[in-house]
Amino acid sequence: MTAGRVLIVEDEPIIGELLCEVLYLYEYESRCVLSGAAGIVEARNWAPDAIILDLMLPDVDGYEVCRTLKNDPRTQGIAILILTGMLAHSDRVRGFRVGCDRFLTKPFQPDEVVRELHSMIGDRQQTLLTGIRRSIFFDFITPVDFARQIRVYQGDLFRATPLPTDTIEGFGKCLSAFGERFFAWRGKSDVDLRIQLVCRIYRDRLEHAIHADSLSKDARNTLLELLGEGDTPVAAPLAKVLSTHQAMHPPSHETAPLILAYHFAGFE
């Protein structure tokens, strides 16, 4: 039993070989081909779970390989991770436009490639069913941990969406500001308010939702105020949609788990 089958399409044989060795350490079965055309043939014949795809290939380039495989019913379920030396934002946008699931740049850390493969292969069934590419959770336990979670969140958004860097940084700053206000408020309050924020990345959009248990009306209003403070790109829409959401779905039971806020940002 292996962790999954991974096809590597990389025209630099030494890097391909080393990637195979890294994947072997993590119990993946892998094969490497050196051209885009061979990648398409191997993907159809071998049916891997995931493909690590370079963009600069001698014959058919990586974009074309990705587009071809994602448009073919036989291969469209294969997760594709683009691994390239092309660093421009326009390259990321184009990669996601032709259907890639992750976009990583060289020089890469082996751990980050393996982490993305685990996520793509492990969540493949869920991704096919729900369209959710990745879920990122914030648990608001300690400010230090929350700050670390924001760094992970920003990296995940960068690798799994075509959003520009400044937008991602804006989301991070906004969540950071909300977290600061929340921790400051909780430090002074007697209410034991536990909340969890989840960001769901879909192929074409992003959602943020706050879940809370056992939330009194006062706590709910406080949270609304905390979210609404400032005019950051996430908090303002979160607070606005929260009001709408509450108006449309008044909570029938105060102790029931609630989705308090919802924010939507489309990519395309």
Partner: protein
């Protein structure tokens, strides 16, 4: 950028120039790279003309630089130096910068292929030269990662239950 020093950078540039311009015939418009000194500050090196700041790998993260050093037959080849999470905290690379999208029936296809093959061969030679000098390359860092992982696994297997 990690343990990067001007001295290491100058060593990497000199190794590149030695292979890219045989006989040391560096053209005038690339002379600035040949005359770098070990006692210069990294800031002054990164601030030279012909040096480009690369986008960070993750938002808010550190960014690397590329240097259009060229070679005897193609002026656009670049050296890159980028931050890396593991020691020594940076990695050198060669960007051949020669990927052109040509129509399949273009009369220039064959010439471009030859150019790309020649550039790739030079890039490999440069990376080999850097590795021989102990300068960090992606290949070298991957090899070290694999060796370390195997060593750790071997130690775990050798441990008494």
């Amino acid at each position: 950028m990690g343990d990067l020093t001007a001295s290491l950078f100058v060593e990497a540039i000199r190794a590149f120039l030695g292979l890219a311009y045989s006989g040391g015939r560096v053209p005038e418009n690339r002379r600035q790279f040949a005359t770098l000194r070990e006692d210069q500050s990294l800031e002054s090196i990164f601030g030279m003309t012909g040096v480009e700041k690369l986008p960070p790998k993750v938002p808010g993260g550190p960014h690397g630089y590329s240097f259009r050093v060229g070679n005897a037959w193609y002026p656009h080849m670049k050296i890159t130096v980028q931050p890396y999470d593991f020691p020594p905290g940076f990695v050198f690379g060669v960007d051949t910068h020669d990927h052109f999208k040509l129509p399949a029936n273009s009369p220039e296809v064959e010439g471009v292929r030859e150019l790309q093959a020649k550039n790739l061969e030079l890039a490999r030679q440069v990376e080999d030269a850097w590795m021989t000098r102990g300068l960090p390359t992606l290949r070298g860092l991957l090899e070290r990662y694999i060796e370390h992982a195997r060593h750790s696994a071997g130690r775990r297997e050798g441990q008494a239950p």
